[in-house]
Symmetry: C2
Subunit: 499 residues, 2 copies
């Protein structure tokens, strides 16, 4: 493809993306394709001769678009949102056009420099302590691919620090602390590193938040048994229910356990720290005081295209002491002089994409004000949904709404059944499995399920940039109707003997 062919294909791509967004809300959220659909449509190997790009671009429309789940659809309420803005797309395009692996300062100074500045912009937007800024010269931030990577890096750095302090401790006695509500990234870090993971219990009464006393008891118990807990993966905004670990209480405990690294994973909720009114709820002061590392994903609820996981550490040496490898072919005058950041020593791999460009475009185009407006608007939309559920005769909130996330279930109040007897937990779970199966069979809306201390629940996460109040109300209506139909289905199946 020569330059003029690229111009033509590029204009067309832009036009087709415009068409996609003009028609997005008329599409189904969920694809109807069956497993194997694409393999059946494509040749078994690459063509021998090059093909005309027009054919390739048309095949993208024909074969790929119908196989996508439309995460930007206004009726997408599953998982958490994935950022996707025009600003992010343009940044990805520009970054891709001058591709380089950005592993040290010299190999493309702009990439390192912009990342260092953007991490400071982001830290200030969220109200992080100046200790986390790159300008501090001690702490600092870098952009990772995902919150899993960020947590893995934190665990590696924490293990390295712990082992330097306690050289005689073997890996087999090390323990990673999570809670029963921590994202699977905790367990996966343990699997990858071959380390034990202990999930601390959290309770419904505490809104699934890790309390200081639980942590203290665990530490005391493990100490007695010779175990060495060296990191706690605390969560501010869990995936299942948006629960917020009590970082303030955790911090009070870790004063007595200075070897315990506190990583705060706020992958989803962290961007809400941009709004001062949520900082207390999200324990910002305690994060600033106690966290060794803090992560949030701008590529979730932060308007930035995947991948843009921002990770800050209180001391950059934690990372470089754990990860620095400098063979001759990676040495540079600037790196040797220590005057620049070589981000390759701040993450797992060597090469890295030019991710900060997306954040620059997004933060400038929206402005801090526009960014906060978006966060507040989505929280408000979720509050509307939560109010509707609260007033429902068949649906119940399972926890108080957390920011832009609600967890609810089908839970018919007595009036809707010919009985005043409460349903047993097992029956309610059976009923909700039927309910979720009905919802997930639909193509015009998408939600995901979860299990909270044994209770089958459904998550409703707001955040797609095009979601408006009308979509929330439509979703509620649809979910109510499906609830009633699920009850009918369940009643017909004769399974109401438990009532």
């Amino acid at each position: 493809m020569d330059i003029e062919q690229f111009r033509k294909a590029g204009y067309q791509a832009i036009d087709r993306i415009c068409d996609y967004y003009y028609t997005l809300q008329d599409k189904s959220v969920v694809s109807s394709v069956k497993p194997g659909y694409l393999r059946d449509s494509l040749p078994v190997e690459a063509p021998e001769a090059g093909e005309d790009f027009q054919k390739i671009a048309d095949d993208y429309q024909k074969f790929i678009i119908p196989g996508l789940t439309h995460w930007q659809h206004p009726s997408f309420f599953a998982f958490f949102p994935t950022g996707c803005t025009f600003e992010g797309m343009l940044a990805d395009l520009y970054a891709s056009s001058t591709m380089n692996p950005g592993f040290n300062w010299a190999c493309s100074p702009a990439c390192t420099e912009l990342e260092a500045v953007m991490m400071d912009w982001a830290a200030k937007l969220l109200g992080l302590s100046p200790e986390f800024l790159n300008t501090s010269g001690i702490g600092g931030g870098s952009m990772q691919s995902t919150a899993s990577d960020s947590a893995l890096i934190a665990v590696v750095a924490a293990r390295s620090l712990y082992q330097r302090r306690h050289p005689s401790v073997t890996q087999s006695s090390l323990v990673i602390y999570t809670t029963t509500q921590t994202h699977s990234l905790g367990l996966k870090a343990g699997l990858i590193l071959g380390l034990s993971v202990r999930a601390l219990e959290v309770t419904w009464e505490d809104k699934f938040s890790l309390r200081g006393e639980t942590l203290r008891k665990a530490l005391e118990g493990d100490e007695r048994e010779g175990k060495k807990p060296f990191i706690l993966l605390a969560t501010v905004g869990t995936t299942s229910s948006g629960a917020i670990d009590n970082v303030s209480e955790i911090g009070a405990v870790t004063k007595d356990y200075p070897d315990l690294w506190v990583h705060v994973d706020a992958a989803w909720a962290g961007v809400a720290l941009s709004c001062p009114e949520y900082r207390e709820t999200l324990h910002l002061n305690a994060i600033n005081e106690h966290a060794h590392s803090f992560c949030t994903n701008f590529h979730k609820w932060g308007l930035t295209n995947f991948d843009a996981s921002t990770l800050w550490v209180r001391d950059r040496k934690y990372l470089t002491d754990a990860l620095d490898v400098t063979p001759p072919f990676l040495r540079s005058a600037e790196g040797d002089a220590g005057t620049v950041i070589d981000y390759r020593n701040w993450h797992l791999a060597l090469g890295r994409r030019f991710r900060s460009l997306k954040l620059w475009f997004v933060l400038r185009s929206f402005g801090a004000e526009g960014f906060r407006d978006y966060i507040r608007r989505t929280i408000n939309l979720n509050n509307i949904f939560a109010s509707l559920v609260s007033a429902s005769s068949v649906l119940s909130l399972m926890t108080a709404p957390s920011l832009a996330l609600s967890v609810f279930r089908l839970d018919p109040k007595s009036a809707s059944l010919n009985s005043t007897k409460a349903l047993s937990p097992e029956t309610l779970n059976d009923l909700n499995r039927i309910y979720y199966a009905r919802i997930s069979a639909r193509k015009d809306i998408l939600l995901t399920q979860t299990v909270l201390n044994g209770a089958v629940c459904i998550r409703f996460a707001v955040g797609a940039a095009r979601t408006e109040e009308v979509h929330i109300r439509k979703a509620y209506q649809l979910l109510s109707e499906e609830g009633k139909l699920a009850l009918e289905e369940w009643t017909k199946a004769g399974q109401n003997g438990n009532v």
Copy 2:
């Protein structure tokens, strides 16, 4: 930014990328910016109000472009090339426009399906055994971010397999084998996982290739000492000199050591397997017979924009047994039924970018033929360079050229000096440090240094898609002149007493 504003900004981005490529060869390869240049130019925090996108796009041209090292410049001969094609850019744009984290089949079927098919296309292009195809149902391939990630995954899978077979073995006795020429990814995997790394010696006489006997002796010695080598990171095409470990001999040894996982890292050279004439040199048959896992980076010498590291395993269960974590919110009907691949269990993180689209666009637009033409053309260009160096009175090749990589140094033949005495190794190193300092001070060309068994050398890697013979000849001329100037500088400094 609304849809029509995006159309305008998108057209402009396309036009500006066209301008970039029309003018690329008139630019310096290397940026002239100084550390901190960007921080001095940007505000200390995000603007409060959103800014006009035109200003942002203009600032990209003003602040970012001048701070880039131009990896696509025809006179870029450093490191290894990074793929950057118009096809790749368009794929990145399309993928970014419907952003989703693609972690399992259901969350966007097209992403998983295309990746599964593209990995098979790529495997066939390279001549990999059918055992590595996704259609085998046993082996399979997935796209990772970098060769470091791929190697780390291989080590984790190998460790997990070894520990399942030998549950009583502790992590502290496990050893990762590399060679002294292995990329830093080997040492970094050890750092990350807290495992020992043993770098086996390779010699100049063997062209820095790991031989079977070296491996056998190491295994025997470690066995006697109770160490447990569980993986060998073999390299086909090392970074320093393009050395190729003797996978055939390695395979013969591992028949006696079935617990040793063989990972073949062909990050750079692997794409040359597309050309049948290189398959013997690159030990394709032995890879197909003996490798547990194989990696090459299409984002290096394979015309595909970063990131596109292709990793194949002979048995996908090696990965899923090591990495599968399935919390309730990630369960899906298709995943539970086992009818689809859930790629999240084939890599370290959860979310993943839609990387396969780039490979689809590239392989179709170039065709297998066009892909091979490009590989052959770059090898040919390197051969031209190597011939020129061979005939030089001041430069010498340090190893036979390996595919598109030459390693050389300043090594004045007696005729050019007023002496017939050979220079000592230390003197030659001093001289080459002066030489490389001169080269790296230039902005119109970029090469990187390395050290081969103590000898300071310079690498010349061909691969930027716009490099033509004229750039090779110009580079040779420049390098010869700098060589003569370095000799003069060294002579003037009175350091020729050693001659």
